[in-house]
Amino acid sequence: MPDRFRSLFRADTGQGQRTRGNTVFWILSSTAAALVLMGWLLPWFVDAYSAGAGFSPQDALISPPTGVGTILIYVLAVTMVILVASPLVEPLARLRGTTFGRRADRIRLIAALVGFALTVVIWFLVSVIQEEPLFGSFGPGTYTDSAVWLTMYGYALAALVYGARPWVVGRQTLAFGIAVLPFGIFLPLMFHQAPDFLDWAAGSLAIYMLLALGLNVVVGFAGLLDLGYAAFFAIGAYACASFASPTHNIHWPLWILIFLGAAIASLFGAVLGAPTLRLRGDYLAIVTLGFGEIIPDLATNNVFNLTGGPNGISGIDQPKFWFLNFSTSPRWYYWSLLLVSLVVIVLLRNIERSRVGRAWVALREDEVAAASTGINTTTTKLLAFAIGASVSGLAGAFYGSIVSIVSPDDFSFSVSIAVLSIIVLGGIGNIAGVILGSFILTFVIFWVLPNMNEWSTTLSQTVHVPGLAGIDFSSYTYIIYGLALILMMLLRPGGLLPSRARQIELESGGESESLAAVQGVA
C-alpha cells in the first residue's frame, strides 16, 4: 500500500522512464504552487483595502480593474490556477493510469513565464508608474512588496521545475540548492517589513541549524551519542562575550571571535573526547550529559571570575563598520549567518566524503574492523568531537553577538535536546535532512509557540471561546518534542530524509527480523 502511494509521486524524466529521487521535484513544484497562491492571497490576508497590486482575487472583486488591467489580471489568474493545480493533477492522473508527457510541462513552463512577466508588468504599472485606474482604486500598499516577491519567486521556481524537469530530477541536490539559494539571499528584502521573521531566521534558525550540523558530525557521521552538546555552544558564546564586551574591556571584532570561539570549543571537544574514547553508546551518552551540566554550572559559579556568574555577561558588542551596522537591522546578521552556514555545509559535505568521513563510517559500522584496516580510531574519534564542537563554538560566538547577553540559562540541557531532536527528526547523518529538521523544529519552537498565545487569544475573541485565551502554549515545548520524536520513530525511523546508511538498515530490516515481520503483520 505505501509503495503504491509512493509511486503516485514518482516523476517522469519525460522519456517515460522512472527515476529515483523525485522528492526534490515534488517539493519544488509544490512550493512553487504554494508561493504563487500565497503571493496572490497575501494582500488579502493582510488588508483587503490598503494592500495589493491587483494580485488578490479579493481585491479584484472589491474594485475591479479596467481596460488592459482586466486582461492582465485574468491571464495571471489562469497561470496561477495551472501552476497550483499541477502538483495535484499529476498524481491523480497516475492513479488513473495515464501520464503527462513533455507537452504538459511545456504548457506549465509557458504559464510560469507568462505569470512571471505579468507580475513584473503589473507591479511596474502600479508601483512605479502608478497606473491605478487600470487596476481599480488601489495603489502600492505596505505589504505589496512581499506579495510581489513571493509571486515572482513562485513563478520562477515553477519555470525551473517544469522547464528543466529531467535536470531537476537528475541532479536533485544541485537543483534544490539553485532553487533555494536566491530565496535565502533575497529573504531580508522580501520580508523587510517583518523584522520578527528575520530575527527568527538569524537568531533561531541559523544558530540551531549550525548546532545541528555540528552535532550531526558527532552523532550522525561518527556514531558517538553526545547529550551535552550545548556545552560547546556555551563555550563559544562565552568566548565571544569575554572578548567583545565591557566586562573585561576587550573589544575584538566578531570576525575574529567566530574563529576563536570555534577553536576554543574544538579544544574542549578534544578534551572531552580524550577520556571518553573507550566508552561507547550509553556510557558515552552519560559522560557527555555530565559535561553538558558542568559547563553551565561553572559559568553560574563565575569560575576564575570570567563568566559573570548567574547574570552572565551583558553588553556584548554588535559589529559595526563602515555602512554595516549590525545593531540596526537583523538583516546583516542574517546575511553573515547565511554565508557562514553555506561555508559550513560545503565544508562538512566535503569532510563527509573525504578519507576522514569514510573512516567515521567504518568506525560506526565496526570499530575492530576499522582498526585493522589501518584507521587510527583515537584520532578519528577526537576529530569528530573537535569538528562538531568547533561548529557549535562558531554558532555560540554568533549567538552571543546577536542577543548581546549570555547567561548560563541559555545553555541548559533543553538546548542539547532540541538540537538532538532536530537531527533525529531530519535524518541522522544526512546533512540535507538536518537542515530540513532545523527549519521545522525551530519554526515550531521559536515561531509558532511564542506566537501561539497571541493567536489563540485572537481566535478566542473571534469565535467567542474564552477557554482558548487562557492556554499557555509556551509550556508545550517538551510535549511537542516528545510527540514529534514518537511519531518519527513510528512512521519514519530514519528521519524525514534518512541517510543512506539508515535507509539501508531500515530496508534490510536491520540485524534481526522484527516481531511484526515474523508474525506476518508487515
Binding site: R358, E365, D366, A369, A371, S372, T373, G374, N376, T377
Partner: protein, 253 residues
C-alpha cells in the same frame, strides 16, 4: 630465554628482516584472565604458517596481538625486525600487516567496492590501489559482479572473499587470516584455500588460523599447535600431520 635466545640469535643478526613475524614469549591478559602465556612464534618471509588448536586455545588472541588490537602484558612482538611496542593497530597495519579478522567483520552497510576501498585506507598511491583492486577482482571474479552490492547482503563465501580482498587491498607483506573457512560449504573452502596458495605464490607471507587442521597443515609449510594459551607443539607441517598426538587430537584419525 638463554637457550632459546641463542638458537634464535644467529638468523636474527644475520638476516633479521627474514623474520616477518617474531613473537617472543608474549603474555596476554583479558582483564585478569590469562589468554596467552609465553607464546613464542615466528613466521619467515614467504611462508604459509598454520596456527591450529581447539576453541579458546588463544589463536584469535595471537592474531589480534600481532595486529595490535591487543597489547601483550609481557614479551615482545617484532614485525619485520622491529618491535611494535607502543604502536597502535593503525600503525601496525601501515607496516604491512593485513588482517582478515575472525567472523569477517565487514562493513555491512558499505558496498563490496567500498569495503575494498576501506582496505586501502592508509595508502596514498592511487595507481597501486587500482592494480591491487584489479588483482583482487581477478582472484575473486565474484566480487567484480557484486561490486555495488551491500556487503551485508552477500553470502558467507562472498563475505569471506571480501574480507580477504579487503586485507589484500592494503598491499600487505604479511596476511593474517582468521578462520577463512568458517561456515563455508566444502567446495567453497577448497576454492578459498586455492586462492590463499595463489596469494602466497605471489610473495605474500601468510599466517593462518584454521579449524580444519588437516587442510591447514596441508596448505602450510609449518604449523603451531596452541593449547590453552601456550604453544604445545610446532614444526614443519608434514611432521605435524605425521605426529600421532596431532592425528588423535585434531585430525580425527
Amino acid at each position: 630465554m638463554s637457550e632459546n635466545g641463542q638458537s634464535v640469535a644467529a638468523p636474527d643478526s644475520a638476516g633479521g628482516v627474514d623474520k616477518v613475524i617474531d613473537l617472543r614469549e608474549i603474555d596476554v591478559y583479558y582483564g585478569r584472565v590469562n589468554a596467552l602465556s609465553k607464546v613464542t612464534l615466528e613466521v619467515r618471509q614467504g611462508e604459509i604458517v598454520a596456527l591450529i588448536g581447539s576453541n579458546g586455545a588463544g589463536k584469535t588472541t595471537t592474531l589480534r596481538t600481532i595486529s595490535g588490537l591487543i597489547s601483550p602484558r609481557t614479551g615482545e612482538v617484532r614485525l619485520f625486525g622491529k618491535t611494535t611496542r607502543g604502536m597502535g593497530a593503525a600503525q601496525i597495519a601501515r607496516l604491512g600487516v593485513g588482517h582478515a579478522p575472525e567472523g569477517r567483520r565487514l562493513f555491512p552497510r558499505m558496498t563490496v567496492r567500498e569495503n575494498l576501498d576501506m582496505g586501502a585506507y592508509s595508502r596514498g598511491d592511487r595507481a597501486g590501489i587500482r592494480t591491487d583492486l584489479e588483482s583482487v577482482y581477478t582472484l575473486f571474479p565474484r566480487l567484480r559482479e557484486r561490486d555495488s552490492q551491500l556487503a551485508g547482503s552477500l553470502s558467507g563465501g562472498e563475505q569471506q572473499m571480501v574480507a580477504i580482498g579487503r586485507a589484500l587491498m592494503s598491499s600487505p607483506k604479511v596476511l593474517l587470516l582468521d578462520e577463512p573457512s568458517l561456515g563455508l560449504a566444502p567446495i567453497l573452502v577448497d576454492a578459498i584455500f586455492e586462492v590463499i596458495r595463489e596469494i602466497n605464490a605471489k610473495g605474500t607471507t601468510i599466517l593462518l588460523i584454521e579449524q580444519n587442521a588437516l587442510l591447514a597443515l596441508k596448505t602450510a609449510v609449518r604449523g603451531y599447535v596452541l593449547e590453552t594459551g601456550s604453544v604445545a607443539l610446532s614444526g614443519p607441517a608434514e611432521e605435524l600431520i605425521a605426529s600421532p598426538d596431532i592425528q588423535r587430537a585434531y585430525l580425527g584419525m
